[in-house]
């Protein structure tokens, strides 16, 4: 009897396991056959925006259903790479630019888009550069936005303390001192998340290392990262630690943004992508941006600019026709205008009216002194990337475990291990 019961139990378990596995495989038959496509983003903070846009798209295309999934920014590439390699990736997704795009394009996971989206030829060359694989020169993404790195400042605090936008570095430091005296954290930035130090470099670096002239020179191998100007820039960055929050080495990306939008801190070096988040978190926050100036007041401060985010299509997608419809929607002027209006992002779609928004208009004005975001645009194609070297070395400098010269050497040696122009 016991044996019989045991046998029954084993059979029940076995059969139920089989059926449990079976039911998940069976597709749910809808009343009408909708084509379901999957769309992935790395912007959990923009889920509502995309949901509303998807609703507009679905209303115009009743036969297509778009399922949105947002992943944490810092884990996105890994999850996407694993999904694409396993053949279960999304049909349409946000793709990175430059080296991040090349990883997927060179692995043949991305569909070349020229034949699907002829309108790509109307985009600006700068935007397309971030969506083109250097290996075969094909375009693998529909450029979505460009990002600009600069200084956010709290206008209310400026007004309260009678400060004005600094024209040179000394004035900036004077503003910091005034804020510190008044009990505010002058600069919200922290150093726990290494990549935020690359943002900081993009904001305050170009004025000291020599902006685009230096960028071109290092890319060509005529100068390197141990250049005195670059080391001086690192020293200037280190000097900012006096104005950063207490225990800034433990201040993460979330903390620094919170410091700024909660008006505890008066400045934040950040990208144009922060604006919408600030508006959502604190609608009363009165802020604006300026380019961080160098020592010479007669020269306007340069801002680092990069193509960010391309909308890409999975080369293995079974539903390319539906996916292309959605891609075309994401590349439309209406969508571009919505991005400007709701996300405060600089849409790369040609012909969008960016000046309709004062913040975007201000960003475009600052972009007149644009310079490439140095490590992302120039040195993120091979390991160890300039970005990973800089992020770790900069943490060492900020914490005081590396000198600026040591950090510069660490970056230079790392890139020189594979970068031909540095090996001459």
């Amino acid at each position: 009897m016991k044996r019989f019961l045991l046998l029954m139990l084993v059979c029940t378990v076995a059969v139920s396991t089989l059926f449990a596995a079976g039911t998940t495989e069976t597709p749910v038959a809808g009343s009408q056959a909708k084509t379901e496509i999957h769309f992935w983003t790395w912007r959990p903070e923009d889920v509502d925006f995309y949901a509303s846009q998807i609703a507009i798209f679905e209303a115009a295309n009743p036969d297509i259903k778009v399922v949105q999934t947002a992943h944490k920014n810092t884990e996105y590439n890994t999850i996407l790479a694993a999904a694409l390699a396993g053949g279960s990736g999304p049909d349409v997704f946000q793709g990175r630019a430059y080296g991040g795009l090349a990883t997927f394009a060179d692995s043949h996971y991305l569909e070349p888009l020229e034949q699907w989206l002829p309108e790509l030829k109307n985009y600006s060359p700068t935007a397309l550069l971030g969506a083109t694989s250097p290996t075969d020169g094909k375009i693998y993404g529909s450029p979505a936005v460009s990002q600009t790195v600069f200084m956010y400042y709290n206008k209310a605090i400026y007004k309260e303390l009678g400060l004005s936008i600094p024209k040179n570095w000394a004035q900036l430091i004077a503003n910091f001192d005034a804020m510190k005296k008044a009990g505010y954290i002058p600069l919200a930035n922290g150093a726990k998340d290494g990549w935020t130090l690359e943002t900081m470099l993009g904001g305050m670096g170009p004025a000291f290392y020599g902006a685009t002239d230096f960028f071109t020179a290092v890319v060509e191998g005529k100068k390197n990262f141990q250049d005195p100007a670059f080391i001086k820039m690192i020293e200037k960055m280190k000097s900012l630690t006096a104005y950063m929050p207490d225990m800034f080495m433990g201040v993460s990306y979330e903390d620094m943004r919170a410091n700024f939008f909660n008006e505890v801190a008066g400045h934040l070096v950040g990208g144009s992508y922060e604006a919408a988040y600030f508006n959502a978190q604190n609608p009363d926050l009165d802020y604006d941006v300026f380019a961080i100036p160098g020592e010479d007041a007669s020269k306007p401060g340069p801002v680092s600019v990069y193509a960010d985010m391309n909308f890409a299509m999975n080369a293995a997608s079974q539903k390319k026709n539906a996916a292309v419809k959605f891609l075309k929607f994401l590349s439309s002027k209406d969508f571009g205008n919505s991005m400007i209006r709701e996300l405060k992002m600089i849409s790369s779609v040609p012909g969008v009216d960016a000046s309709s928004d004062p913040f975007i208009a201000r960003v475009l004005e600052l972009q007149k002194n644009a310079t490439p975001f140095i490590f992302l645009v120039g040195f993120r194609y091979q390991q160890p990337t300039g970005s990973s070297l800089w992020q770790a070395a900069a943490q060492g400098v900020m914490a005081g475990t590396l000198t600026p010269a040591q950090a510069a050497k660490q970056v230079q040696d790392g890139i020189a291990s594979y970068y031909k122009p540095f090996q001459k």
């Binding site: 790395w42 920014n73 810092t74 884990e75 996105y76 590439n77 890994t78 790479a81 694993a82 694409l84 390699a85 990175r96 080296g99 991040g100 090349a102 990883t103 997927f104 060179d106 692995s107 043949h108 996971y109 922290g190 150093a191 726990k192 998340d193 290494g194 990549w195 690359e198 929050p245 207490d246 225990m247 800034f248 080495m249 433990g250 201040v251 993460s252 903390d255 993120r380 194609y381 091979q382 390991q383 160890p384 990337t385 970005s387 990973s388 992020q391 770790a392 070395a393 943490q395 060492g396 914490a399 475990t401 590396l402 040696d413 790392g414 291990s417």
Partner: protein
């Protein structure tokens, strides 16, 4: 072979196959796949050509792989030593005290074990909040007048690894405590009574009688500590991130493997060949060190 034996064999196969399939598909197959992947050069996410052991030689000799690997391995060693010394001796102490039926030991037994049941990700996330500059830990230190001890626990190179290890000990100490408690409870009472009658003190009783008899449990805990220390990943991932920041000070071979094999968004693209080589090295290390520690502890076991 008669029918009875055949039936027996069929039953054995029936029961063993599911387990064998799980081990085969989820443990052995990936193991051989990573060995296979480690023998190729890769272009981004695609294998290009067979290169033999070149990925291993690059890992052990070439900048920056060698530096990153040795740095990570050193952190794993710190994990192992700290866990062995702090967690397991505290566990042994807790286990011993509970076996002596100190007041409230039934409650302690449960309290110590509760964190073991928590999800490691939840523990990492929560302690990540507690250890922030303005978090619970620093606030507590401020409250009791120890402002000078306040630190950015997860942001300073000299504290970050130890802070994460302490969190892990907090989470896991209940497990060795319970294992040791069970082992000590299994020591025959007649031995202990005889020793008591002979006037042996508590200290001597523990070291001369209890300790030698619980060596099998110590072996198990040691092996688990070795495996746990070599596979540290989630704790780092949730508290300081995949890059093992600040400046690689919390990097372990687990995070290094993940970052190298799958890439890290804000820093770089994946290198599957080298990543797989790291995976194989982790496996070999775990296997060898476990074997050595089992041999070592076995030689010290005593039988009654």
């Amino acid at each position: 072979m008669d029918v009875k034996q055949l039936r027996k064999a069929a039953w054995i196969i029936f029961f063993v196959t599911p387990g064998l399939m799980i081990v085969g598909v989820f443990i052995l197959l990936p193991l051989f796949m990573s060995l296979y992947n480690s023998l190729f050069s890769w272009n981004q996410l695609l294998p290009v050509e067979f290169v033999g052991l070149e990925n291993f030689s690059r890992l052990f000799t070439k900048y920056p792989y060698q530096q990153r690997f040795l740095n990570a391995l050193q952190n794993n060693l710190i994990w192992f030593l700290s866990t062995m010394v702090l967690q397991n001796s505290v566990g042994l102490l807790f286990g011993y005290l509970m076996s002596r039926s100190i007041p409230g030991y039934q409650a302690f037994k449960r309290i110590f074990f509760i964190p073991v049941l928590f999800s490691i990700i939840a523990v990492g996330f929560l302690w990540g909040l507690y250890l922030k500059p303005s978090g619970l830990v620093n606030n507590f230190l401020g409250l009791v007048g120890l402002e000078s001890l306040q630190h950015a626990w997860l942001g300073e190179e000299r504290f970050a690894t130890m802070a994460i290890i302490m969190v892990n000990i907090w989470r896991w100490v209940g497990f060795p405590s319970l294992v040791f408690l069970a082992a000590i409870d299994n020591v025959p009472t007649e031995c202990l009574e005889a020793a008591h009658l002979d006037g042996v003190g508590e200290w001597k009783l523990f070291w001369k009688i209890v300790f030698p008899l619980i060596i099998p449990s110590i072996t198990i805990i040691t092996v688990l500590t070795v495996i746990g220390s070599l596979n540290v990943f989630e704790q780092i991932y949730t508290m300081t991130g995949l890059d093992g920041g600040p400046n690689y000070s919390t990097d372990t071979i687990g995070t290094l493997f993940y970052r190298t094999a799958f890439g890290s968004v804000d820093a770089g693209s994946p290198e599957i060949g080298i990543g797989s080589a790291i995976g194989v090295v982790i496996y070999i290390l775990t296997f060898l060190i476990s074997l050595i520690s089992i041999r070592f502890s076995r030689s010290r076991e005593v039988q009654l």
